[in-house]
Point group: D2
Chain length 341, copies 4
C-alpha cells in the first residue's frame, strides 16, 4: 500500500544507521557528554551562526516542548500560542501537567499574527486585574506550522520585536524545520531563526533520525541547571550517544538540508499532480504536508489504496485530509499515487 500518512513512517536515513553501526562498540560516557554530542553541538552552532548557543539533545517533540517551556517559565507564567498550536491540542496536556497554562490567540493558517500578539500582551498589561491572571511568560510558534505553512522573515522579525518589547522569550517548535528551511517559497534561513528566537528546536524524528530533537538556546541563555530539568522530565537519555551520533551525521555535509530538500521536491511533484487533477487544496502549503478537501465517499474509496491522514471535518460531505512526503518518499510513490487518483 502506498503511504503518505506521515513523515515518520520509516526508520532512519541509512547514513545515520551506518554511523550507529560503526561506532557501536566504542565505550563512551553516558548522559550526553560523549565526543559525538560535542561534535554535533559544534556543527549545529556553526550552522546557526551562534557560537554562544547552548545545545541539548532530547528524544521527542512533546517532551522537548514540555521540558523547554517548563524550564523557561516561572510558576505564575503561561505560554502564548495559537489555538491550533501543537502544545495546545495534541500533546495530551503535557504543558498543563507541568503546571502552566497555554494562553491562546487566533491562528491564521496555523500562524501567529504579530499585531494580534502585541494586542494580547498590551491588553494583559493594561488589565487592572492581571494579578489574578496567568502572566504571558513566553511565546510558542511552530515553523512549519501544523498546517505546513511558514513565516516570512519579516513576520518572524515582527514577532521577535514584540517579544523583545515585552521582554519575553520567543520559542520555535521546529519538528519539521528542515522542510521549512528547504521550501523554495521561504526566505527564512537557519541563521535568521537563530537571530529571531531565544530558543528553538531542530527536529530530527521527522527529518531522518530514529528519534531526537536538538534544542538550541541561541545565546548562552539556557535556563539554570537545565540538565536537571531535563532529567526531571524523564528526558535524559542514558546513551546520549544515540542522539549525538544522529545529529552529528545530520549536520555533516549538510545531510539535514539535503534530505529535507528531497522531501520538498517530492511535495512539489505531489502538489503539481494534485493541481493537475483539480483537487481542492484546503490551504496553500509550501512544505511537505499538503492538505486536500475530499468528498467523503471518494475519501472512503481512496483509503483502501493509500494511507493518508484524516485531518478534520470540512463540511457534512467533505473532509480535510493530509498527504505528507519526507526524506524517504520515492518518486515512484508519487507517480503511483497519481495513477490512483
Amino acid at each position: 500500500m502506498l503511504s503518505f500518512a506521515c513523515d515518520y513512517g520509516e526508520g532512519a536515513h541509512p547514513e545515520i544507521l551506518k554511523r550507529l553501526v560503526e561506532t557501536n562498540m566504542e565505550h563512551l560516557p553516558g548522559y550526553g557528554v560523549d565526543p559525538y554530542c560535542e561534535s554535533a553541538k559544534n556543527k549545529i552552532k556553526e550552522a546557526c551562526g551562534c557560537p554562544e548557543a547552548e545545545i541539548y539533545f532530547l528524544v521527542g517533540g512533546t517532551q522537548t516542548n514540555a521540558t523547554v517551556i517548563h524550564g523557561i517559565l516561572r510558576n505564575y507564567e503561561g505560554v502564548v500560542a495559537v489555538e491550533t498550536g501543537h502544545i495546545n491540542v495534541h500533546e495530551a496536556g503535557a504543558i498543563e501537567h507541568s503546571g502552566h497554562k497555554v494562553l491562546t490567540i487566533p491562528q491564521h493558517n496555523g500562524k501567529m499574527d504579530s499585531a494580534e500578539l502585541k494586542k494580547f500582551l498590551e491588553e494583559f498589561y493594561g488589565d487592572e486585574s492581571r494579578e489574578h491572571m496567568v502572566f504571558p511568560g513566553m511565546v510558542y510558534i511552530s515553523h512549519p506550522t501544523e498546517y505546513g505553512t511558514l513565516y516570512t522573515k519579516e513576520e518572524l522579525r515582527n514577532l521577535s520585536e514584540v517579544c523583545k518589547t515585552f521582554q519575553i522569550p520567543l520559542y520555535m517548535d521546529g519538528a519539521r524545520l528542515g522542510y521549512g528551511l528547504m521550501s523554495e517559497e521561504s526566505d527564512v534561513t537557519l541563521k535568521d531563526i537563530a537571530q529571531c528566537c531565544d530558543a528553538f528546536y531542530i527536529g530530527g524524528t521527522k527529518v531522518g533520525a530514529l528519534c531526537g530533537e536538538a534544542v538550541v538556546f541561541t545565546e548562552n541563555n539556557a535556563p539554570k541547571n537545565f540538565m536537571t530539568t531535563v532529567k526531571q522530565q524523564g528526558a535524559l537519555l542514558a546513551k546520549g550517544r544515540v542522539l549525538g551520533i544522529q545529529f552529528d551525521t545530520l549536520f555533516t555535509d549538510e545531510l539535514y538540508m539535503k534530505i529535507s530538500r528531497h522531501g520538498i521536491e517530492m511535495a512539489k511533484l505531489l502538489k503539481e499532480g494534485l493541481r493537475d487533477k483539480n483537487y481542492q487544496f484546503y490551504l496553500e502549503s509550501p512544505t511537505n504536508q499538503q492538505f486536500i478537501v475530499l468528498q467523503n465517499e471518494k475519501m472512503k474509496k481512496l483509503e483502501k489504496q493509500v494511507d493518508f491522514t484524516v485531518w478534520e471535518k470540512y463540511d457534512e460531505n467533505h473532509t480535510v485530509v493530509r498527504f505528507a512526503t519526507s526524506w524517504a518518499t520515492k518518486k515512484e510513490d508519487i507517480e503511483k499515487l497519481m495513477e490512483l487518483l
Copy 2:
C-alpha cells in the same frame, strides 16, 4: 582506557542493530501500533507467563518510573520506597514533579523488608491524623537494587502479600532485570516476578538496547487511558518501531537472557579476581555491579587507568566505588583489570 564505569557504555547488541538495519525502510504506523511492537508484546507475555498482560514500551528508566507511578496513583497518594530507591535519590524529583510524594522506609543493602513495610502501612492506617498525610498508594522496589542485590522468591512473595493485604499495587523497577534473572544466586524467575508484581518493567537500556524499557501490567490492569498518560509525560515515541524491533529481538531466542548471563559471568570473574587480591567488598552483590571499598590514594591512582564509578564516602580515608560489567564486557578487559590491580 579500561571501562567498568557502567552498563550503558556501548551502543546496542549487534543483533539489534542488524534488525534495525534490515527493517529500516519498511513504512510502518507510528506510536507503537506496528507489527514489531505487537510481536514483541506477545513474546514478552509468553516469557512472563501472562497472557492477560498489557505491555507498553517507553524510552528510559526515570521516564518509565514517573509515567507508571503517575498513572497508577490518585492525587492524594504517594509511593512507598526505600531511602536509597532510585526514584528517591537519582531522578531529579521526577515523581514529585508529577505531584506525588515518595514515602520512605529504611533500606537493607538496597532492599525493602516486608515486615517493615507492613509496620509502616499498619501505622499509617492506625494513625488518627492520617487524613492529613499522604496515602501510601503503591510500593516501589528495584530488582536488582541500586546496590546490585536481589530479593529471594520468598521475600518477593512476602512483599506481594503485604501489598495484597493493603490492596495497593507492587511495582518493580527492572532497569537491570536481566542481570538479576541470570544471577546464579537467585531463585527468582521472570514468571515469579510477573506473579508477585502488579506492574514491572524489563530494562532494555542497560541490557543491550540503544534505549527502551518494557512496562508489563501483569493482568489486564493498565491504568485507564494509559497511552494518553504516556503521551502527556512526553514518553510516546513517534517511531515506536525503534522500541518494538529492539524488544522483539531481545525476546527472540532468549537473547535478553543470554546476554544478561554473559554480563553475570563477567561479574563472577571480576568478583573472584577482586577476592583473590583481597579487596574489601562493601556488600555481597550477586549481579553485575560490584562495590569495593578503596583507600582514597589508591583510588586516585587507579582512576588514571580504569573508569569506574565513585559511589559514596566510606570514611575519611576510604571510598566505595562501583565496577559494573555488562553484555558488552570482554574477558580480556577483566584480565587486564586484574593485571592493573
Copy 3:
C-alpha cells in the same frame, strides 16, 4: 464615596457575626467535625433535597474550584468551560497548577450552550488522534455567570443530559448562587440545581459570609478521601467552626435566600434607574451585577464619585463597566447614585 464595585466590600451579615461572638469561647474539635458544621450540612442537604449529599466547607472560590476539579479529574483529563469561565481567566492558572487543562468552548453572554457542548464531546470521541489529546473529564459552568446571566431550568437539564450521555460530571460554580436563586426572572431552584449537577458550591463570600463556600456532592459521590485532597490544597481550615457557624446561620430561617433577595431588589432599582436615564446595557443581566457601556470621558468623571469595576474595552471610545449590588447595599445608595448619574 458610593461603592458598587463588588459584592464583597463589607464584612459579614450581622447575624453571622452575632453567632460567631456567641459561640466564640466554646471549645470545639478542629478541621470541620464540630457540631456547627454538622448542623449546617444537614440544613444544606435539606435545602437541596439531597439526603445523600456530601458537603465540604472551603474558604474561597478559586480554592474551591481547584480542589473540586483536581479531586474529580484523573491525570489525563481536563475540564470543559466556556472561554470567559472564571477558572479560565481569573484564577491565575490554579487549575493548570494542579496539572489539568481547561478545555474551552464559546460563550454566549457567559453561558455554555448544550448543543455546542455535545458537538465538542462528539468531535473529541470521533477524533482518531484523541489519545494524544486531553480527555474531557467534567464540565464547569457558573450560575450566575461572570456576566450575571442565568441558565433556565431547561438549559440546565439539557447540559445535564449531555453530561450523563458522555458519563462526565457537571459541576457548577455558585460563587453568587443566592443572587441567581432569588432573581425574579429565573425558574431554577436550589433543588433543580442539585438534581442537574453532580457537584456545585453555594457561595458564601459574596453572599454575606466573611469567607466560605459550601461544596455539595449531590449523591454520595465525593471523590475518595476528598478530605486529604482538601488538606493537600491548603484548603482545610483548622477552625472549621468558622465556616460551619457561618453556613449554619445562613441556612437558618432562610437567611441566605432573604439577603440574596435584598441584593436582587437593589439590583432591580439600579437597573430601572439606569434604564430611565437611558444608559446602554452591555447585556441583559437578571442578577446583582449590571454591565453598562460608558463613554470613556464620562467614565473618568464618574470614577471620582462612585466605585465601580472597569470590565472590558467596548470600542475605542467606550468601556464596559460593572455595578454590583449585594446583601449590604442600601436603598439610599441607589438613590444617591441616581442623583449622580
Copy 4:
C-alpha cells in the same frame, strides 16, 4: 469535658471579634489592599525591625507553607527539612503537589542541626551525580517545632550562616511563634528571627485569630509577582480585611505577645503539676505543648475525662500524648486537670 487537645479549640480572642464587629459595615477594597491590611503590615514591620519587609496575609499554615515554598523554589529545587517537619508529615503532600521534593535530614527533638545541614549541603555539592538529584533550594524549620522545642539564638544564627554560605534562603514556620517568643527559656526575639531568616510566618490561627498567618519576607525579597502565586494557590482571600483587621488587632498594644505569654504561663502550671505527680515527660518542651509518656491503660481511662492528643507509640505498653495550652486556657482548667490526674 476538659480540653487540652490543641491550641485552636476556641474562636478568636474577644478583642479581635470586637474589631471585626466594629468595622463590619465599612465598605473596603478586596484582596488585601484595604487600610487595615496596610496598618497591620506597618505594625508587623516595626515589631520585626524590618522597614524593608514585604508582608502577605494568608489563611492557614499548610497553605502558607505551600505558597511560600512554591514561590521561592525553581522547578528543579526542593526544600530541606527535618524528618518530623510539618511539611514532610502532616500536610498531605501539599509541597509535592506543587512539584517539589522535601529533602529530609535527621531531627533532634524536632530541630535541625546546623552542622548536619552543612554536611548535607556539602555532600550534595560534592556529589558528581548531583545533576540527577533535586537541588536544595531553601531550608525549612519550625519554631517552636512540632515537639514544642525552640532554637537558641546561637542555633538560629548558625543555621542562617550555613544558608548564607550556600546562598539558599532560610524559611521559618511560625505557626506557634508567639508561644516560642514568650517562653521564659528562650533568648530569641522577633527581631532575631527577622535577622536570621529570609522569610517566616507569624501564626495567627493558633494564637488567637479565627484564621490567618502573616508571611514576612524580611528584606524586600518576596518572589516576583507573589500575589499571583498566592491567587494561583487559592490563597487570596476576597475579603482581605478579615486577615488585616485580625493582625492589626494582634499587633496593637502587643496583644499577640500578651496572649502568648498567658498560654506559656498556663503551660508552666501544667508542667509543674505533671512533674509533681511524677509523670514522665517525653522531652523537655519550653512552650505550650507538653508531651507525656502514658501507660496505655491509664491513657484509655484518662481519655474519658480529658481531651488530649495521641501523638505516637512509645513502646508496646506506652504512648506519647500531647497536652496543649493556649491564649484561651483558664487556670481553673489546669487545676481541674490536676485533680483528675
